[in-house]
Subunit: 164 residues, 2 copies
């Protein structure tokens, strides 16, 4: 007789929760849709290209790429397979670990990224930076950091990054 029962959300909490998920689901969907519409790639692919473009030699081991783009190994494996079909990424064997694969951004991939970037950045401005004040952006920064801290401290699942 000691189950405290679920700690239900107060009215205020419920309001904050619903508003927040709706806002961020919309924002993510809007960004994804713009990329899909104008550059024929989902946000997840864009992020993979960005991480590769920033890496030395524009190359990354699959696992590192998964970590850098905050997604699961499985997702990255599927995604890189698609990106390779488009000629945007090339996979080669890792010389020091025969289990490993190295994903490298090709010149065509870099061009695709360069072409997609301006429209994407503009969309990000519209949905986020034009909507918030400087003060709110600072607040958002620390809020996001707090959430990520929670994410880091919670147990990860077997495969990739998501979930808790």
């Amino acid at each position: 007789m000691n189950d405290p029962g679920p700690r239900w959300l107060s009215t205020d909490e419920q309001h904050t929760w619903r508003e927040s998920i709706e806002a961020w689901q919309w924002l993510l969907a809007a960004v994804d849709a713009q990329l899909q519409r104008d550059s024929a790639m989902p946000l997840a692919y864009y992020e993979i290209l960005v991480r590769l473009s920033e890496a030395p030699d524009r190359s990354l081991r699959m696992t590192q790429l998964a970590e850098a783009s905050a997604s699961s190994k499985s997702r990255v494996s599927h995604a890189v397979a698609r990106l390779e079909e488009r000629g945007w990424v090339r996979r080669t064997d890792c010389p020091t670990d025969r289990r490993g694969q190295i994903a490298m951004l090709t010149d065509r991939g870099f061009d695709a990224l360069t072409a997609a970037a301006p429209g994407h950045v503009e969309q990000v401005r519209q949905v986020l930076f034009d909507a918030l004040s400087a003060e709110q952006l600072r607040q958002l920064d620390s809020i996001s950091a707090a959430i990520l801290a929670k994410a880091a401290s919670s147990p990860k699942d077997a495969d990739g990054c998501p979930a808790g």
Copy 2:
């Protein structure tokens, strides 16, 4: 010779942007994964069940259900079809508009929702409310409201709610 070029993000902006999407993608994935794992339903289905449970007669026209759950008509149509297979929702013809369909939450659907709720709420607490201070929650509230205001003012696509 008057193209200002893309308004690139400053270092700070880029930091805020990357941190924010990573945080919210993780949070949404974590909530979705908990529901999937413990109650065998995605967050989108849970939200549909919630909106129905709150509606008079636990019933809503398909379009209203789409608006209430902030998703596209197509998504809701597919989802309700699945939920109907599970016996959680029943569709009936609308008496006043022969194009219309009314989705009603069944008793079994209500039970499923009741069973799923405590674990879901607990997860929401863990990923959001336990991570943020009261002050941050207030800030988040107004940040989300600002984003949603932007969403409301931006042109909607043909089908449903998402995208901008």
